[in-house]
Symmetry: none
Subunit: 223 residues, 2 copies
C-alpha cells in the first residue's frame, strides 16, 4: 500500500484530500507546517508528497528543497507561470493550481507512483501457467517459485519461446549447446525428466509433450 503525505495548513482542503485519498486505498499522513513536514518526512517515508505553498513558518519552496528522492506535487493558489517554472525546476514533480479537479489530481498521483515502479522494468516470458522472469532467471508455476538448473532453464526457455511448436532433439541440443557443451541425446532425456518432475510437483500437470521419434513441445494450455 502506498503512503501519501499531505502538507497543508488549510484544514478544510486537507480533510477533503485525505478523504479522497483514503477512499482510493492510500495511507495518508498529515503535516500542517514546514518544520512538522520535515520531521514527518524523516520519520516515515511516504511514497509521494502533496505540498501546499502557503505554509506558516517555512515557505513551501524551502520545504521542497529539503525533499530528496520522493516525488512532490505542488498545490497552490498562485497561478503565475513564473512561480510554476521556478518550482518545477526546483525539484517539484508536478504543479496544480487550486482549485483543481480531484480526478486529475489522482491521475497525476498515479503517474508519479507509476514512474517509481517502472524503474525495475520486468521482462517476462509466459506460456500458460508458466512464467519465466528473464532478468532474475527464475520460473514460477501457478505463482510458485521453482528452482531450475542451468540446463533445465535453457531447455524450458527454448520451449517457451516456441510454444505449440515441435522442437527436434537435435535442434534442442544445438540451441542449448552454448550453456552445456557436452549434453548428449541421452542426458537430454534425463534433463527433460527432471524438468517434468519439477513442473509436475509445482503445477500438477505435465507441460512437456513428447513427439514420438522427433522431439518435444510445450503442451497446449487450454487442452
Amino acid at each position: 500500500m502506498k503512503t501519501i503525505a499531505i502538507i497543508d495548513d488549510d484544514q478544510y482542503i486537507g480533510d477533503m484530500l485525505s478523504e479522497v485519498l483514503a477512499k482510493e486505498g492510500f495511507s495518508v499522513l498529515r503535516a500542517y507546517s514546514g518544520t512538522e513536514a520535515l520531521y514527518l518526512l524523516k520519520e516515515k517515508k511516504p511514497d509521494l508528497v502533496l505540498l501546499d505553498l502557503m505554509l506558516p513558518g517555512m515557505s513551501g519552496e524551502e520545504v521542497l528543497s529539503y525533499i530528496k528522492g520522493i516525488p512532490v506535487i505542488v498545490l497552490s493558489a498562485r497561478a503565475d507561470v513564473k512561480d510554476k517554472i521556478a518550482l518545477l525546476l526546483g525539484g517539484a514533480a508536478d504543479y496544480m493550481t487550486k482549485p483543481f479537479d480531484t480526478g486529475e489530481l489522482l491521475a497525476r498521483i498515479a503517474v508519479q507512483l507509476r514512474r517509481r515502479d517502472s524503474l525495475k522494468e520486468a521482462a517476462f516470458l509466459t506460456a500458460g501457467d508458466l512464467s519465466i522472469d528473464l532478468l532474475s532467471r527464475s520460473l514460477s508455476v501457478c505463482g510458485k517459485e521453482v528452482r531450475l538448473t542451468r540446463t533445465e532453464y535453457a531447455i524450458l526457455k527454448l520451449l517457451m519461446e516456441n510454444p505449440e511448436r515441435v522442437i527436434a532433439r537435435s535442434v534442442l541440443l544445438d540451441r542449448i549447446g552454448a550453456d552445456t557443451p557436452d549434453c548428449t541425446e541421452r542426458s537430454l532425456k534425463q534433463h527433460i525428466s527432471n524438468l517434468r518432475k519439477k513442473l509436475q510437483d509445482a503445477g500438477g500437470m505435465d507441460y512437456i509433450e513428447t513427439v514420438w521419434g522427433i522431439g518435444f513441445k510445450l503442451r497446449d494450455p487450454e487442452s
Copy 2:
C-alpha cells in the same frame, strides 16, 4: 545531449517548438503522423516525446499506447478534464493544454528528463534492509552501520542497483573493474564470501543468492 521528438501535424506549432528546443540545446526530431511517429521512435530513441493528439491516420491515444519506456508529454487543444485523466492514466507523463507557455513547457520537460537521471543523483540506494549512502559510501543493515572495503562496496552497489536481477560474474568483474582492475574470478569469490559474512553478522540473513554457473543476485526482500 538530449533528443526530443515532436509529433504534431501542425507545421506552425511544430516549427515554433523546434526552434525553442533547439535554442535550449536539445536535438529535435519531427514526425507528422502516427505511423511516421512509430517508425521514428523505433529507429532513433529520443529521450522524450511531445505528442499532439490531433494526428492524421492514427489517434494520439493509439500512438501513446505503443510508446514504452520514454516519457511522453501530451499537448492538446482539448481542455476537458476527462481527456486529461484518460491520457495520464494511459501512460502520459504530463499533459499541457494549448495554448501553453513555452517556459512552463521547458520546465516540465526538464522535470521529465531529470527524473530519468535521478538514479544517479539519488543520495541513497536501498533494497530491502540494506541501505547505502552514496555520498559517504557507507552501508547500514537494519539500521546498523557496516564497514565495507572498496571492492565490497563496489560489488554490493552493483547488486543493489539491479535488485533481484542476475549479474554474471564476468559482468560483475567488468563493472567493478574501474575500482579494482586486477580482480579475478577467483578473488571475486573471496570478496563475495567476506561480504556475505559481514551482512550476515549485521542483518541475520544471506542477502546474496548465488545462481549456479552464472553469477549472483540480490535476494528478494519479501521472500
